[in-house]
């Protein structure tokens, strides 16, 4: 857990004092990612760097796991915090192994221990230790360097990580990949992470909580969904963008919105049976599943009405299929592409587990306004 209590930074400049961070108070629960978000010069980076005292605070206190850090030695404090800066901060004079083991060596680990740790971390990001340990950063591709530089911060297993726009310099395609990898790692490691970003999409994707800054002040601190659905003021609303409702789609998985009792027919059932089910549910089409319960096609009401025989003889191909873990943005994109108002939802084994409809989605997104607004 990280708690900031009235953290303030006033810079003395030639044009008089400038308040870069003004009484920032917030609390990040253990194992959560908090993204500090805002335009440049809003105080988000200053706030982050006050935590490990790269920038000394003018006043205020930082607590880590309940302990007041102002009593701690700066060097000890920093060695207990993983720190990732915007540029790739790998030391070009050191091999990958030496880079990863910088903090363990500073902490006085035995060589066997930090060597083993370096290999373990490389394995974690799917880079072969026997190939990479002895290489130098300039012998690696950009993407490989990014991975090394994130795992270097993890080397001594710090409970807390500070990340200053860590993925800011990566091209959009690789950024997605690295973000996904990072989230996968975080799901296992459960670090408490403060993460500076200026990119609302990145924040929505990564954050458990978002803190929005403007001119040194914390404007709103809440979950991504709350920030998108209920921006605290005009500034936040403007910053998250007029398409903020669409952004909320990313926050919800298909499995959370689907109807969990999907209607379906099997190939040996007759078309008239299918018609009965559709009319009972007021559906205009129905999913056809095989013996493994996997969707293999759909049967429309028109077909069932106009033809005789078995479902297995008169079905058409699927318009699309949603995975349980897909976010709603992906699902909606599929619906629009297929010009379809619903999609079957499958689990990881490809078995039908539900169906998702455009109405269901709008209903879900609107719920927060009906209860709170």
């Amino acid at each position: 857990m990280i708690k900031l209590d009235n953290l303030t930074k006033i810079f003395d400049t030639s044009e008089g004092p400038v308040t870069a961070a003004d009484h920032i108070s917030m609390e990040v629960p253990s194992g959560e990612i908090c993204v500090l978000l805002g335009p440049s010069g809003c105080g988000k980076t200053t706030t982050l760097k006050m935590i490990n005292r790269i920038i000394p605070a003018t006043s205020g206190t930082v607590f880590i796991n309940g302990e007041d850090t102002s009593a701690m030695d700066t060097v000890d404090l920093r060695r207990s915090i993983g720190y990732v800066i915007q540029q790739i901060g790998l030391f070009p004079n050191m091999t990958i192994e030496e880079n990863i083991s910088v903090v363990p060596r500073l902490l006085g680990w035995q060589p066997e221990r930090y060597k083993a740790r370096a290999s373990e971390l490389l394995d974690m990001v799917a880079l072969d230790p026997s190939t990479f340990l002895k290489r130098y950063p300039n012998e690696l591709s950009g993407g490989q360097q990014q991975r090394i530089w994130v795992i270097r911060a993890l080397a001594a297993d710090p409970p807390v990580m500070l990340m200053d726009e860590p993925f800011g310099a990566i091209d959009p395609i690789n950024r997605e990949v690295i973000q996904d990898e990072f989230l996968k790692m975080q799901a296992e490691l459960n670090k408490t992470i403060l993460f500076v970003s200026h990119d609302i999409d990145e924040a929505v994707k990564m954050a458990d909580k978002i803190a929005i800054f403007r001119a040194g002040k914390l404007e709103q601190y809440a979950s991504p969904d709350t920030i998108l659905a209920h921006p605290a003021n005009e500034f936040v609303a403007g910053f998250v963008g007029s398409d903020r409702t669409l952004k909320r789609l990313q926050l919800v998985r298909a499995g959370q919105v689907m109807g969990a009792r999907p209607t379906f027919v099997q190939p040996q059932q007759s078309l008239s049976e299918a018609l009965v089910i559709m009319e009972r549910n007021e559906h205009r089409s129905i999913t056809l599943v095989n013996s493994q319960h996997e969707p293999i096609g759909i049967i429309s009401r028109d077909v069932a009405w106009n033809h005789q025989g078995l479902c297995g003889e008169h079905y058409e191909g699927l318009h699309g299929i949603a995975q349980q873990h897909d976010d709603l943005r992906t699902v909606v994109a599929q619906m629009f592409t297929a010009d379809s108002s619903w999609l079957p939802v499958v689990d990881d084994q490809g078995r039908l587990v539900g169906d998702i409809t455009q109405r269901g989605i709008t209903h879900h997104l609107g719920a927060t306004y009906r209860t709170q607004g």
């Binding site: 910088v102 950063p137 911060a153």
Partner: protein, 244 residues
């Protein structure tokens, strides 16, 4: 690599040149005459190297720490002024430096070493300073953010990354040193300059060559050795000589 290929041709050319010169020297009897100075040459090469190594060694011992101190953030304001002065100092011709050393300290090996030391010090301080300043700020921030002490930051990050530039400074400095050491003879230092200047004075070309050839070879050897040293000492990750 192309450069290596180029070097091979060059070495071949040089060998040929040396061979032709050698044949000519033998035929014309120049070689035999040169060998008459054999004893002088040996003695003076050792004395010459002594001058160079003492003054150059002192310059390294003083120059690198001085460059490090000037590069510390707490001195940033004075460092620029100091570097400006050093740059002006570098502009002063070496003969003038030796002359000034003589006018202050008199003649002998002492003033010679002092003059050489001053001439050699400047490039070392300058390269150490600029090399350390050129280490990217984000690397230093990453290092201190990871909890390195200033001393650890210096030894583990700043110096290894600046080493190539620092050694380039030492290389330049020693090339100047070895080339200026003959002039030290003029103010009473013992060096190969003795053969060259005496040779000029008494119009004895062979004596001149007996001083000039070893001086040139010494300069090239020292330059080459320091290149080799940089190749070996500087980490492969930041060594321009060892890029793929």
């Amino acid at each position: 690599m192309l450069f290596n290929q180029a070097r091979r041709y060059l070495y071949f050319g040089l060998l040929l040149l040396v061979f032709i010169t050698g044949v000519w020297a033998e035929r014309s009897g120049v070689l035999a005459e040169l060998l008459e100075y054999d004893e002088d040459i040996r003695y003076l090469v050792v004395a010459h190297l002594k001058l160079t190594l003492i003054s150059g060694g002192l310059a390294v011992l003083i120059g690198i720490p001085l460059g490090i101190v000037l590069s510390r953030p707490s001195l940033a304001r004075h460092a620029e002024t100091a570097m400006q002065l050093l740059n002006i100092g570098t502009t002063v011709p070496t003969l003038a430096l030796l002359a000034l050393a003589m006018s202050v300290l008199g003649i002998g090996n002492g003033p010679a070493i002092f003059g050489l030391l001053v001439a050699t010090l400047l490039p070392i301080v300058r390269n150490t300073y600029t090399g350390l300043l050129a280490v990217p700020a984000h690397l230093k921030e990453a290092a201190s953010g990871m909890g390195m002490l200033p001393r650890q930051l210096l030894w583990q990050v700043e110096l290894p990354n600046a080493l190539y530039v620092i050694l380039a400074g030492v290389r330049t400095a020693l090339a100047i040193n070895v080339g200026t050491a003959p002039l030290a003879f003029l103010i009473g230092g013992t060096s190969l300059g003795e053969l060259i200047f005496t040779g000029i004075a008494v119009d004895e070309p062979i004596m001149m060559l007996a001083g000039a050839v070893p001086t040139a070879l010494l300069a090239i050897t020292i330059d080459f050795s320091l290149g080799l040293l940089a190749f070996v000492l500087v980490s492969k990750g930041v060594n321009p000589l060892r890029q793929r």
